[in-house]
Symmetry: C3
Subunit: 273 residues, 3 copies
């Protein structure tokens, strides 16, 4: 199934509008190109509504939100909803500041999302309406482990049902659910967290996968999460003892560029709960 | 001739002011350093007019234009004109939104450009006053091929004459013309389009080449286009089967860092029409 | 001593708030991760004051300052002062425009900095209250050499005493002083200046080192300067004849990722004057 989903990305070459942070935006663009999609960035209110209309999907990432870009997120999100485009939300740092938490919560109210992807602390903040995220990384106390996986799956399913979106909680074990079924995914490497923006890249990737597979957002999001983790594994095998997180960053994107639909199908490691 | 042009860049080390998008700005900076130039970025109206005065040339790229940076483009462009500095325009996404199209057209009216570099869809938008660019890539229907090359050359020449600037239309075959003569360039690799920002890098590079060779902007722009394409070829030969677009990005910049004026002279593939 | 200082960074994993330019921000984030720290970027006034409070230290870099981010620098700087967090200033381009010079001078008046890191032209601009920096690079006439080192050390010491901060003047020979003692550091490679943002990365790194070693900012800043230079040396030894500044950029960050506290202790080359 993931094979076909990835083939649709490669063949459909979805054009994705990204309103995203300036820290990792270049990597998001190259990751979109690597998977077969095409990126465009536009964050001014006077530009973004038209740009989103010529695209197939929208990726909203609040990583360096500001007074000018927050209204753009709402305007582009609503326009994408009108057009029936898939919209992905990456609530970077929700819980770490009032502006981030409230912007993410208001976006949830006013925009309909296909997929919301974040770490467990960010997703908990959205589900509970408040939080105390430490920066942009998940709180250690929140982390999803084999021991608390059942509870985390139940939590993610309940939140997915409530907001009517696919929820992707990523970490050591990833959970992707539409409220009914949950993919528990074990691809990836812990070293990926030493590269800035692997989460942002995954959100952009997810937008491409969901846009090219609009009739099955759950499977498309799960395929994107597996693909990213698998590329982290492939890239890690390439590391020499001189390589560090900068080369690893490049190798992960390179791996996506080289990844075949068949390799994704065979390398994806998940169970459905 | 290109040998001498490139030597002037290496020796003159032109300082280029870039008002450019935040997606590819880091690559533009490293590409400028790779060719022997020096970058500075400043996009606030209160900063850019003074910064442009300490530089030798200006590169305006509208890739992620916004309410704050659009006025800066006009102010810095006019100041550069007063000082006699070469100014390059990269009309990223002109045709994809009203703001982009109108900003580019107004810039053409109010600022005098040495070179305008874009893909064929963007340049057609500027020439016709409107357009329907699909995102930031050229429309397939517009593409310059061996079959329609004569017509494309005639079009570019006419537009160059009308606006009084060198026009660089880049794609599979590049056309660089001042209205009288046209360099038709066949350097480059199709894989370059899988790296975000190779066009932006070329515009920055062009600004450096034109600034270091102010008396011959046509030849300088053509040399920059050849150099970029040649680096794409050199970098491609270095690719292993594990490398993808992220490593290719690095290898292209690396190739420019290592490129000698003699290698440019020998590797440039063009005809003059 | 530097061994222990670096161990504190690796173990303490300081979270650093960066208000920095969009040119080199991704490299700053990966450099912070490489040294064992953690980055967060927030530059909106409505976001940054809260974000700075959840961090351990603050890095202010004026490289692409604008009307929106300048007030954020003051607000976050003052909040960090209230909380007793170390604050680093990188006055990029001070002397090249009135806005940059005046912003840096006002920041010096209103915010208490632990470390100010810049090239000699930028630091001279701050010390003299005006300057004529050519872009973002040091003026050739200003450069610190073996011949003028005594005078440069005396100048840096006097400025450090006056502003009550550690001053780090970086170049071919680096000077790091608190007004009493000065570390004269000879690590590094001239090729590092062909990579955009090695100075910005060093400022971010310095923030991490000082935050993890709050009781000794002078030694922590000196250790950061040695570590950066040492990584430049290690990365340079890895360069092949095909590699240029793009690969060098990656190798420097990789080297930091792999650097051990013992290797820093052994590789640091400095004298105290």
């Amino acid at each position: 199934m993931f094979k076909e989903i990835f083939e649709n990305v490669r063949q459909g070459s979805p054009l994705i509008h990204n309103i995203t942070n300036y820290v990792t935006v270049n990597d998001c663009a190259n990751m979109l190109l690597a998977c077969g999609g095409s990126p465009i960035m536009a964050d001014d209110p006077g530009d973004a509504v038209e740009i989103t209309a010529v695209c197939g999907g929208l990726n909203i990432n609040i990583g360096t939100l500001n007074q000018r870009t927050v209204p753009t997120m709402f305007a582009a999100g609503k326009r994408s909803n009108e057009l029936g485009h898939p919209v992905v939300l990456d609530p970077v740092g929700a819980g770490a500041s009032t502006l981030r938490t409230e912007t993410a919560l208001r976006l949830l109210e006013e925009v309909s999302f296909s997929v919301i992807r974040g770490n467990i602390s960010e997703i908990k903040t959205l589900a509970l309406g408040s939080g105390t995220t430490k920066g942009v990384d998940a709180d250690v106390a929140d982390k999803v482990t084999e021991e608390n996986l059942d509870g985390a799956v139940a939590f993610a399913k309940a939140f997915a049902k409530r907001v009517g979106a696919v929820i992707a909680v990523t970490g050591a074990i990833d959970i992707v659910t539409d409220g009914e079924r949950a993919f528990c995914i074990r691809n990836g490497r812990p070293e990926m967290s030493s590269v800035t923006g692997t989460g942002c890249q995954l959100s952009a990737l997810t937008a491409a996968f969901v846009t090219a597979n609009r009739e099955r957002p759950l499977e498309a999001a799960a395929a994107a999460v597996c693909a990213m983790g698998l590329c982290g594994e492939i890239a890690f095998r390439r590391m020499t003892e001189l390589d560090g997180n900068a080369s690893y960053r490049n190798y992960i994107i390179d791996a996506m560029y080289r990844l075949t639909p068949t390799a994704l199908e065979e390398g994806a490691r998940y169970e459905v709960r």
